[in-house]
């Protein structure tokens, strides 16, 4: 159920007895712009590092240790046209502890402390902390190159999208760092606190009343409720974009990006999920069976859909010289899907796997909260699992074929070795 704390700030409490912990996620959502991913990522690092009351990492982490090792971290993600900063706290349920004071209430107070009173003096973030976290972020950007799978995925994203806000990683990019100062970041922080749409999500053996009471200390001001569409619907050009890079690597990465027109909980969403499962989402999929099992060309070859942006990506790790062959096989699998050439058994299996995955997502506090949040920002309410599952059951083979026919290859990125 939802409790409105003020305009644009909502508390969602999901009571269940099955976990030994209480998990809290505070999500702050802003429109994604070319220039805000970097500053919000830096902001997230600063909020996680120290605060006015806990001016060093040691002080902050000691407080969390005192709360029976409550875990606390911040994170940023992109969803469609939104940039989301998350404060995430996990704490042991009071009933397993012999404390007299409620550890849950103390944890909520901790979140309030670090979110509303960061380490700021005279309108600017603490300079030393700022400088160090900015250097760390610079190092992090430079380390993306070290993880070749990540590097190839980011290169494909940049190649595929025309819109600069969509091109850049959710954690931002190096060239923006120089423009950010302790003072400008504090202004970004205030803007976030005043304007972002906030959802507070809590799961555990708790009641809505006790949480509503605990969160009363949060002094959010009212803000304009979201009117803008969270889905990114920008179309890419007609031409397929291609790029090849050569680096001294042992394994080549061939990554492909497609337009799908499949959006989260739109009418074709359920058929889209079945399509993805059949095409490259599961070990019984066409990509796994053909690229890996039949031809021994790869260890991994799989597809993922981003239903907030209407796209699909395929990732493979192969020998560089096999790239044309692998691309041909992938294209052939898509063609077969478009012609309705997939087995009844695999079709039914995919539905079973999707349903299994949905039920399982309720068994992990983090996964459950992420699903609920996606529901809320896309549809404004929590979609009952039964309803979701019924819609998967109703998908026909013709629906899947329809989805396949609207999928088109738009970008190809190849990272290969010097000797390939």
């Amino acid at each position: 159920m939802a409790v409105k704390l003020t305009d644009g700030v909502t508390l969602h409490v999901l009571p269940t007895k099955k976990f030994k912990t209480v998990r809290i996620k505070i999500k702050l959502k802003a429109p994604l712009r070319e220039d805000n991913s970097t500053s919000r990522t830096l902001l997230a690092s600063l909020l996680e590092t120290n605060s006015q009351k806990y001016p060093t990492q040691t002080a902050m982490r000691s407080e969390l240790s005192r709360l029976y090792g409550a875990s606390f971290y911040t994170d940023v993600t992109k969803k469609g046209t939104a940039h989301i900063l998350t404060l995430d706290l996990n704490v042991v349920n009071d009933k397993f502890l012999s404390e007299s004071d409620s550890v849950l209430n103390q944890s909520v107070a901790f979140l309030e402390e670090v979110l509303f009173r960061p380490n700021v003096q005279e309108g600017a973030f603490h300079e030393e902390t700022f400088n160090r976290e900015r250097e760390n972020l610079r190092d992090e950007y430079s380390s993306y190159y070290d993880d070749k799978q990540l590097y190839a995925a980011l290169a494909l994203q940049e190649l595929y999208f025309d819109d600069p806000a969509q091109q850049i990683p959710s954690r931002g990019r190096e060239e923006d760092l120089e423009k950010i100062t302790p003072r400008s970041l504090y202004m970004d922080y205030q803007k976030m606190l005043q304007e972002d749409i906030v959802e507070i999500l809590v799961v555990g053996d708790v009641t809505e009343d006790e949480l509503a009471k605990a969160f009363r200390i949060f002094s959010f001001s009212p803000r304009k409720e979201a009117g803008s569409q969270v889905f990114y619907a920008g179309k890419q050009g007609m031409d397929k974009k291609e790029k090849t890079e050569i680096h001294p690597v042992a394994q080549a990465k061939l990554n492909l990006a497609y337009d799908t027109g499949v959006y989260y909980h739109a009418e074709n969403y359920y058929a889209g999920q079945v399509f993805n499962g059949l095409f490259g989402g599961y070990p019984h999929s066409k990509l796994f069976t053909n690229v890996r099992e039949k031809e021994s060309l790869a260890y991994y070859a799989s597809s993922f859909m981003d239903t907030f942006r209407g796209t699909m990506t395929v990732e493979t790790g192969i020998e560089g010289m096999d790239a044309p062959k692998v691309e041909r096989i992938i294209a052939q699998q898509l063609e077969e899907m478009q012609n309705g050439l997939f087995e009844e058994e695999a079709f039914l299996q995919t539905k079973e796997m999707l349903k299994n995955g949905l039920y399982q997502s309720e068994d992990s506090p983090g996964g459950y909260l992420e699903r609920v949040y996606a529901n809320i920002i896309a549809k404004g309410s929590i979609i009952p699992l039964d309803e979701w599952i019924e819609k998967i059951d109703r998908v026909t083979k013709a629906d899947v074929q329809d989805v396949a026919q609207n999928i088109s290859l738009k970008a190809r990125f190849l990272l290969k070795g010097e000797s390939d």
């Binding site: 030994k20 029976y68 160090r132 394994q251 995955g357």
Partner: protein, 432 residues
């Protein structure tokens, strides 16, 4: 079945050993949709030299064969086992470590069908020369993927230093060359020796009725015949006396240099509750020295020698253990010097105060309770290593009981310069 209640944690564990030798562990979890099953054998990448079941002579098999076998068990004459699990809506997987191989599924319905599929596919091998040849291309790509992973190379660089003559120095998947020597015949030899029920454990956790599940397993196993189990004879070089390579570095196509420092253990494993206490003690000790509330961590972080990639771990495997600490750094030499100094003077470290100890303990207990939310975590803990009668539910009571003096003693015994080593990965063209 033996029933053990853990009142404080609100858990009940059911265990049994079947006539054929199979160990069963069942843990019902109320309110969960999911059931998770893990069928594991006490066999991993280090078990390269042994006497095959029913024979007298010791043999040496190619590196990576345990992992290769894991891949090949999924393929049957009638097709891929993933298809069968898929039909029942289950997701299946498997993994091989230094000393274990495990097969698993998670599902939200048809638990009986899935459980029988799991037992049957692992207990009915089908290896042919053709399917073995085909797998070599797939596994070669898996190995190449890891060859490009700096974190993986960093860890194995350290292990090569620490264990020059021990199979722990080799990638679990073997090498592209070593897997070429694998044949279907060799797979059968390993299979017969290490996949006897007497060497295996089935762990089922989740939305189950333990009596019912026990009945299913028993019925399934009673239909199959196995020769009597005899203890497996493995041959591993000792880890305590060999030389340690104190330092090496390599170059890779990376932007950020990386450094890791490690120490290998020399205390023989007893495979009882004292091992679990030892492991917990080492975990707590490392948390005191390098954890987020330590002055060491703050100093290293503030000086820019470490960033969020910094991590430390105590790894405890059958017959060997080691600690490792490190991450990305702008100054690999500087970081290595500081880490060595902290480790070798751990016993008298200013971090080792009662106040810090209580804080780390409290945090560790809370983190343990948090981890127990996860069915997968629990299942993995049950098979992780042999602690005799002790298991994951004993961790919190042991943590409560352990003393600072114990940690000081551990530090004194473990942190020895001759068994310490460091390894660096440098961006291409920057090596001396």
């Amino acid at each position: 079945m033996e029933i053990k209640r853990y009142e404080q944690l609100d858990e009940v564990l059911y265990t049994d050993k079947l006539e054929n030798g199979l160990t069963i562990k069942l843990l019902p979890k109320k309110g969960f949709h999911k059931t998770f099953a893990l069928f594991s054998t006490d066999y991993g990448s280090i078990d390269n030299e042994f006497i095959p079941l029913g024979e007298n002579a010791q043999i040496r098999v190619p590196d990576g064969i345990a992992h290769f076998l894991e891949h090949k068990l999924f393929e049957k004459e009638e097709g891929d086992v993933f298809q069968v699990f898929g039909k029942y809506g289950a997701s299946a997987n498997a993994f091989t470590s230094f000393s274990k191989t495990a097969y698993l599924f998670s599902s939200t319905n048809r638990v009986k069908d899935n459980l029988e599929t799991l037992l049957d596919f692992v207990q009915e091998p089908y290896f042919t020369d053709k399917t073995v040849e085909k797998e070599k291309g797939i596994i070669a790509q898996e190995i190449r993927m890891y060859d490009d992973s700096p974190d993986w190379r960093l860890l194995f660089g350290l292990l090569e230093n620490l264990y020059p003559n021990h199979p722990a120095n080799t990638d679990i998947a073997g090498t592209v060359d070593s897997i070429q020597q694998i044949t279907s015949e060799l797979l059968y030899t390993c299979y017969r020796t290490f996949y006897h029920p007497g060497n295996m454990t089935l762990t089922v956790i989740g939305n189950i009725d333990p009596e019912e599940v026990h009945g299913w397993i028993q019925a399934n196993q009673s239909k199959k015949e196995f020769p009597p189990f005899t203890a497996i004879q493995r041959f591993l070089p000792g880890t305590e006396l060999e030389n340690v390579e104190p330092f090496r570095s390599i170059e890779m196509p990376v932007n950020r240099p990386k450094a890791i420092v490690g120490i290998k253990g020399t205390r023989p494993h007893k495979e009882d509750a004292s091992d679990l206490r030892f492991r917990i003690g080492m975990d707590l000790l490392l948390k005191m020295l390098f954890g987020p509330t330590s002055a060491n961590y703050l100093k290293l972080y503030d000086s820019g020698l470490i960033d969020d990639s910094f991590s430390y771990e105590f790894s405890y495997e059958r017959s060997f253990d080691f600690l490792s600490v490190g991450g990305d750094t702008k100054d690999p030499d500087g970081l290595t010097d500081v880490l060595k100094e902290i480790l070798l003077s751990a016993k008298n470290s200013p971090e080792m105060t009662e106040e810090n100890f209580e804080l780390v303990k409290k945090r560790s207990i809370g983190q343990m309770l948090q981890a127990m939310n996860s069915i997968e975590y629990l299942a993995h803990q049950f098979i992780e290593a042999d602690y005799g009668e002790a298991n994951v539910f004993d961790i919190v009571p042991i943590m409560e009981d352990i003393t600072l003096e114990e940690l000081q003693e551990l530090a004194d015994c473990y942190m020895k310069a001759p068994v310490l080593s460091a390894f660096h990965i440098l961006p291409r063209g920057e090596d001396q």
